[in-house]
């Protein structure tokens, strides 16, 4: 598959073959990295990380991935210190940065910014979040984590919990899971149900979808429980919010009827939607999920740079 020069902007641009290919390359890189300690595929290549909006995890994991591939990194982690403050256009910033680098990773507060950057740049652009729109590398690392934990994605029953109405992470993940033969439990308060059009799309693609407000009722069915945060701002009053928050906290008591093999995931940062007592159980997969960010981003950097011949 020819990935050299390709942009990674939206899950919508991916076919199932694309996804499978990235996951396979990530797995090979992870194995090789474990054997050798460090790699040199991207030696002499420079990654520019343009974070117009702060992020710890995503930026650090991209930087770590580039270093582990033997490349180097330049960039900024807030727009405040750049010419953007002087009114420079995004297009000009991108055209400038590409003179200094071989691949761009960008996070921007506006929806569509990564698409625009990719149109302007000759070098590949990887979207690390554009406003509330897309965060495709998160979706890929979520899929990778599931695949590594179960050896497959097909045949699994997956619960998505939390803010399913506004959460871009769960929307993208659900859309990507639709490529697979999975059963989905959409678990959320009434107010934060998954948008109808996404559910319709999932059903059209043959996904068996159950909508429920009852977390404990769904638990015994699940192989994976993907937890996301419910934000205070979504609720008209404090009372309602507290009620919902209480009934969706994942703790050992909620998990008592779970399959022994159930894995709990979370895109992090978490606040109190997963109790720390879950961390030391076999169910906790969220730190492993954080780790997955590195091989997946190594794969994407290496593929778009075109330096992974032989992997």
């Amino acid at each position: 598959m020819d990935w050299k020069g390709r942009d990674v902007i939206s899950v919508r641009d991916f076919s199932k073959e694309d996804i499978e290919f990235v996951l396979k390359v990530a797995e090979r890189l992870e194995t090789e990295l474990n054997e050798k300690g460090s790699l040199d595929y991207a030696k002499g290549k420079i990654l520019a990380t343009l974070f117009f909006e702060p992020s710890t995890r995503t930026r650090l994991s991209f930087e770590s991935a580039m270093h582990r591939l033997g490349g180097s990194v330049i960039g900024f982690s807030s727009a405040a210190s750049t010419s953007v403050k002087k009114g420079e256009s995004l297009a000009d910033t991108i055209k400038t940065v590409e003179q200094y680098s071989d691949v761009i990773v960008m996070r921007h507060p506006m929806e569509g910014a990564a698409r625009l950057a990719a149109e302007v740049a000759e070098i590949p652009v990887i979207n690390a979040g554009d406003g509330s729109n897309q965060h495709p590398t998160q979706t890929l690392l979520d899929l990778y984590t599931i695949k590594r934990a179960f050896g497959k994605i097909d045949g699994l029953t997956i619960g998505l919990l939390g803010d399913l109405k506004y959460g871009r992470t769960v929307h993208s993940l659900a859309e990507a899971l639709a490529f697979y033969d999975v059963e989905l439990y959409l678990i959320s308060p009434e107010l934060l149900r998954m948008p109808k059009h996404i559910i319709e799309e999932l059903r059209e693609k043959g996904v068996k979808v159950h909508e429920t407000t009852d977390l404990e009722g769904a638990i015994p069915e699940l192989d994976v429980l993907y937890v996301t945060r419910i934000q205070r701002e979504r609720f008209p009053d404090e009372q309602e919010y507290l009620k919902v928050k209480g009934s969706y906290q994942v703790n050992c008591s909620v998990l008592k009827n779970a399959k022994e093999t159930l894995k709990v995931m979370h895109p992090l940062p978490r606040v109190d939607e997963i109790h720390p007592e879950v961390d030391k159980t076999e169910h906790a997969l969220y730190f492993r999920q954080v780790f997955s960010g590195v091989p997946v981003r190594m794969a994407l950097l290496g593929l778009t740079l075109g330096v992974l011949e032989g992997v």
């Binding site: 919508r12 297009a91 929806e111 698409r115 554009d130 406003g131 509330s132």
Partner: protein, 151 residues
């Protein structure tokens, strides 16, 4: 036939069955009002069997292609286009909503990059009945009135 007499053109394009009141917008979208262009005629609020009232736009010396004319499909889905040669209608076609709409629609999402940086707007048609489009940049969809308000 009185209407035809005063507004007959020899060679050009007649856009008929435009919803009443949208004729000017059609002229604007298709940029028919060029300084050195041919005669341009707009008839507004003409009686029509099908529409009650309609607008008609006639432009001399220009033969609009189907592709060009499809740009008006969003505001004038009922329009028919007549190519006139030697005073006679030589070709007739209906406008069709194209697969992609570039440059004429604004994205309704205030946080879309297309509303802040220099871009040519672009939308993909997700469904025609009812009309639904997706922004190339922010990926949000727009339908119905929201589309008309942003033309």
């Amino acid at each position: 036939m009185a209407e035809l007499k005063v507004t007959a053109i020899k060679e050009g394009t007649v856009i008929d069955h435009i919803p009443a009141g949208k004729g000017l917008k059609v002229i604007e979208i298709l940029r028919l009002n060029r300084p050195n262009g041919g005669v341009l005629l707009l008839a507004s609020n003409v009686h029509s069997g099908k529409l009650g009232r309609k607008d008609i736009v006639k432009v001399e010396g220009r033969f609009l292609s189907e592709e060009e004319v499809n740009k008006i499909a969003l505001i004038a889905p009922t329009a028919t286009v007549n190519i006139v040669r030697d005073y006679k209608v030589s070709e007739k076609f209906k406008v069709e909503v194209p697969d992609e709409i570039t440059g004429i629609l604004r994205c309704a999402n205030p946080n879309c990059v297309s509303n802040h940086e220099y871009t040519v707007s672009k939308f993909y048609v997700v469904s025609r009945e009812p009309l639904k489009v997706r922004c190339h940049y922010c990926e949000r969809t727009m339908e119905g009135d929201e589309i008309l308000r942003n033309l």
